[in-house]
């Protein structure tokens, strides 16, 4: 046990393993953060398509399109989506893109499918009178959504969005499938040096745990700030 610990420390500090770990941590956070940002943008657009009145033909077509989109990204594993993107789609398009960019894009697309449901529920939790008041003043549907309804839905959405971020952080552990060196990959390399995995993987788990707890704490603090600025809601 002590030998394993010493080997781990040697790999980590003396043989430069910490560089990989730090870069891996950066990659993990980058993929999750940018993935979530893309996911929020896509998710908001999908949610708008879902809640917009379906009188005209265009919203109906769009709804079918987003149904297929959401169905695909929720119905297949993230790993498969990564593999398809990196090993199938990229060669097909004939372009070379850094694998971390691919990971960010796939995570964004995947997250968008989940965030859309979060956003839809959040938008529908806002009193319909708010939309009506905006429309009655002559504002367009989109303007009323962006200025009135969505800002109010954020408060309801925030905790669930925090959970989505935590899910993304944990799911990034599969990105080494497409040759991204993330946190998991970095620790696996350290273990592979001596074929001793006990210490690296326990430490890896702890690092994820601390990461997730920090995010949870951050979300709670943001929530509290929202609560403070939120004035007593009454009709």
């Amino acid at each position: 046990m002590e030998k394993q610990w010493n080997n781990f420390c040697r790999e980590l500090f003396d043989n430069g393993g910490y560089k990989d770990v730090l870069n891996g941590l950066l990659a993990t956070v980058e993929i999750a953060v940018f993935g979530l940002i893309i996911g929020i943008i896509i998710g908001t657009l999908i949610a708008m398509v879902k809640v917009v009145p379906k009188y005209k033909i265009l919203p109906r077509i769009l709804e079918k399109v987003v149904d297929v989109y959401v169905g695909f990204f929720r119905g297949t594993p993230m790993v498969v989506q990564l593999l398809l993107g990196y090993f199938v789609l990229l060669p097909l398009l004939g372009i070379a893109v850094d694998s971390i960019i691919v990971a960010i894009v796939i995570f964004g697309l995947n997250s968008g499918a989940y965030v859309s449901e979060i956003m839809r529920a959040g938008i529908q939790s806002v009193d319909s009178g708010q939309l009506e008041a905006g429309r009655a003043l002559g504002l367009s549907y989109g303007k009323t959504m962006m200025r009135i309804v969505i800002p109010q839905s954020i408060k309801n959405i925030l905790p669930t969005l925090g959970n989505e971020f935590i899910t993304l952080i944990k799911e990034t552990s599969v990105v080494s499938f497409i040759a991204v060196v993330d946190l998991t990959k970095a620790f696996r390399q350290i273990g592979a040096a001596h074929y001793e995995y006990l210490v690296p993987y326990v430490v890896l788990a702890l690092v994820y745990l601390v990461l997730v707890m920090l995010i949870a704490l951050g979300v709670k603090m943001i929530e509290r700030r929202f609560k403070r600025s939120e004035r007593r809601y009454s009709k």
Partner: protein, 261 residues
């Protein structure tokens, strides 16, 4: 019952054969109404008679199923018409106030005027100038109702009466040609009804064209120059207030008045 006796030129809104159903329930069964410039029309009737639905159809918050609503030379019931342009000229006040909860009072009032002014912006006019001009206008309106000190307050910190009065001047800030009121005092505590009715009276005296769905019979009698009784999806009776209350002709109106007066 003849609605076309007045000069046609000052008819602001001409509603003809307006129909609306929710699922299979027919709520409006062909409503005809002329709203003349400067007129104050009060709509009364039992609950479920379609009076709120009628008002909401006038600015297409509910899309009518049939009939026409002529306003400024266009038929609002026609789905091809850009309804947003016309809604800017038709103020609406809701039972539940519907102030924007995420904006303070000043932003509530200036949001829509600033967006419109930006769109119609003259050459050389900066966004800052537009904002300042609209805010100045909003402060003037707030001063008129004695709530200038609430400009930076959020809606949830205000009383119902304050909210509704701000909702009214929010609509006024768009310089509407007509104001629609959908039971503006029904959600208010009794002691706050007066302040809202007073503001509406002032508006009426200033010559605003108003269509008011209300349960305040006394207010209707005092302010309106035409009272409409709706029942079962149609206008059953309309008359000047004196005749309306003194000589109701329809038996159902007589019954209704006997209950509410």
């Amino acid at each position: 019952m003849n609605v076309d006796t007045q000069n046609d030129d000052n008819v602001l809104i001409k509603v003809r054969n307006l129909r609306k159903s929710f699922d299979k329930q027919e709520v409006l069964k062909g409503v005809n109404l002329d709203v003349h410039t400067g007129e104050k029309i009060a709509i009364i009737g039992p609950s479920g008679c379609g009076k709120s639905t009628f008002l909401r159809c006038v600015n297409c918050l509910e899309d009518p199923d049939g009939g026409s609503i002529m306003f400024e030379g266009e038929d609002l019931a026609d789905m091809k018409v850009d309804i947003n342009i016309h809604r800017q000229r038709i103020g609406m006040v809701f039972q539940q106030f519907n102030l924007f909860n995420n904006l303070n009072v000043l932003d509530n009032i200036t949001l829509a005027p600033i967006i419109v002014a930006k769109r119609n912006r003259k050459k050389g006019q900066t966004v800052k100038e537009i904002k300042e001009k609209e805010q100045e206008k909003a402060y003037k309106l707030l001063e008129q109702i004695g709530l200038a000190d609430k400009a930076k307050a959020y809606p949830s910190t205000l009383s119902g009466g304050q909210k509704q009065r701000i909702a009214i001047i929010r609509a006024l800030a768009m310089n509407p040609k007509v104001m629609l009121f959908d039971e503006p005092t029904s959600a208010l505590d009794p002691e706050m009804v007066g302040e809202v009715l007073d503001l509406m009276k002032k508006l009426a005296n200033d010559g605003m064209t108003m269509v008011i769905v209300t349960h305040e019979i006394g207010f209707a009698r005092e302010v309106a120059n035409k009272i409409i009784f709706m029942n079962d999806g149609v206008i059953e009776e309309e008359n000047a207030p004196e005749q309306f209350f003194a000589h109701p002709s329809s038996p159902r109106l007589k019954e209704f008045l006997s209950k509410v007066l």
